[in-house]
């Protein structure tokens, strides 16, 4: 069984719970290239966990393993106390893992509202016949889920663009809509792949605030990849550092910052 120890208390006094997701000795290869090499780490309930590392370190591959795009050749993925068999991405979503993408992956032809409502899909159960008639269960379900979607739209302050087609929105807002879509699923674990990439300082501050609020308000466990060190060190409770597919550091931001290997990886070191 998993180590279900008590958890810990963060610097700002939040109680972190037991292990939600545990990666055990994950190895992922593409032909001869080893993208991830024997990495283990855990994500605990209610924490903000960052994965950092230089370009090509294997961070995004790691996220893809968690969300089911890649099946690792070796190692085990444990989610909420049970080992996960090789799973299709949509089944992972049904288990309660939502994510955003590094390059925005919104449904461009649909309105913001429809995008967010799509995030509610895993909760929508009415049959195609009910929907065709738009009576009874289908309509009730649509209304109930719309209410939840509207709450998230409110929360992320995108009410004014609710009915705008996504293709017309600027980059920063698109990122926010993508977060809204992921949140609409009410995930148990939220994966964010570079949520601040390509943003200016103000947009970054907004996004940081939203991430903290989400964690605070809904108690959502968050794992994120980010390049902005300031952001990472501020936001996260614990950090995993990867380099060339290997884990070179794991701990609180302060511990990681003091880790010689991490410093070497980021600043470079002569190898002779």
């Amino acid at each position: 069984m998993l180590d279900q120890t008590e958890g810990y208390v963060t610097e700002d006094g939040r109680q972190i719970g037991g292990v939600v997701m545990e990666m055990k000795n994950i190895t992922l290869r593409f032909g001869g290239v080893v993208a991830i090499k024997d990495i283990s780490f855990d994500i605990r309930e209610g924490e903000i966990r960052a994965i950092i590392g230089p370009n090509g370190a294997g961070k995004s591959s790691m996220l893809n393993v968690i969300s089911g795009f890649y099946i690792p050749q070796e190692g085990e993925v444990w989610f909420r106390g049970s080992k996960r068999p090789p799973t299709r991405p949509y089944e992972v979503a049904q288990q309660g893992i939502a994510r955003t993408f590094q390059n925005i992956a919104l449904f461009e032809g649909m309105s913001v509202l429809d995008n967010v409502m799509t995030g509610r899909l895993t909760q929508m159960k009415s049959s195609i016949f009910h929907q065709a008639l738009w009576r009874g269960k289908a309509e009730a379900e649509e209304t109930a889920n719309r209410e939840i979607a509207e709450k998230i739209i409110d929360f992320l302050e995108i009410q004014h663009i609710r009915k705008t087609p996504v293709a017309r929105l600027p980059y920063g807002l698109k990122k926010r809509v993508e977060l809204a879509r992921a949140l609409a699923a009410e995930p148990k674990l939220l994966l964010l792949d570079e949520p601040m990439a390509g943003m200016n300082v103000e947009e970054k501050e907004d996004m940081c605030r939203f991430i903290l609020d989400v964690n605070d308000e809904f108690g959502t466990t968050i794992a994120l990849i980010e390049h902005d060190m300031g952001v990472v060190m501020d936001l996260s409770d614990r950090v995993v550092v990867m380099d060339y597919g290997k884990k070179i550091g794991d701990g609180t931001p302060d511990e990681v910052r003091a880790n010689q290997e991490v410093i070497d990886a980021y600043l470079g070191v002569s190898h002779d």
């Binding site: 939502a98 919104l106 449904f107 995030g119 195609i128 929907q131 289908a138 209410e147």
Partner: protein
Amino acid sequence: MFYREAGDFHTSYPSDNQTFPIRLDRYRYYAVLAVAFGVIPFLINDYWANAILLPFLIYSIAAIGLNILVGYCGQVSLGTGGFMAVGAYACYKFMTGLDIWLPTGPEGEYVRYALPEINIFFSVLLAGVVTAAVTVLFGLPSLRIKGFYLAVATLAAQFFLVWMFNRVAWFYNYSASGQINAPERGFLGIPVTGPATEAWATYLFCLIFTVGAAILARNLTRGTIGRTWMAIRDMDIAAEIIGVNPMRAKLTAFAVSGFLVGVSGALFFAVYLGAVEVGEVFGITKSFLVLFMIIIGGLGSIFGSFAGAAFLVLLPVFLKLLGVDLLGFPTDIVAHMQLIIVGALIVIFLIMEPHGLAQLWRVAKEKLRLWPFPH
């Protein structure tokens, strides 16, 4: 000015989710329905029914069906003609009594066992169900291939189905001509197929199916299923990551599309033409015709399906009126000119407005909201 939405507030999500959230739109929709059901049946004559209204109604159903597949779910299909043929032949078999031949005679001869003949209304619906199943079967490659390659796979369906209906005599009840002919059948005691039909009866019969198809399509596309289709169309990877089962989404789109196309094929044969030679009526040109309708009308729009069907049904009629009756050209020249003009218009249209008539309509509404004041 003309198009008012000021003062039109919604205080509940169901009211915001309506098909026509703007009051003016809603009233216009009721008015159109009232005219279609209450006025046109009294004015209609054979020319209007056969040249304009029946083809418009029937092609609209096919266009809505194809639009669900291509416009909403993003799966290209060139098999519409073949699938309409499935609807036509299924309807024929149901209305004449679906039969099987079994070797149960005294000396092992084949004896015909047949279901009772099914009412034409239910025959059409059942034809839709059969077509849905066949379409899903030919939609299976979509789980592996996309875009042009899928189009080619559905093209195979088109040729295979037409070949099959030509070759297998069971489908045309072993008739000597190889054609299928709709016998006289009535709905609620009023004949709607066969030679002795009244224009208003066939018109109303088709209208019921068209309105039903539009409501069905609209309800499906504004709800959960519609969002899964559009998600697959816009970005299939992201769709999968938020919990869309791609196989389910694609195959339901094929099924619903196939159902509507099958219904339209059944009506096209039984009510509109009355007799069908499959290679001529449901050939590849039919597939392209319906595809042009939704491209010109607007992909991903129910209104666009109607607009596209109306455009391609009315254009030849209009050109004939203009050329033969007004300008006095010989009929054959006008017929050839028609092909050229229709082709040129399609090209011009696609360059000027790639999103189709539905987009023009949206832009016009946008303008009419403000007219005559620019801001």
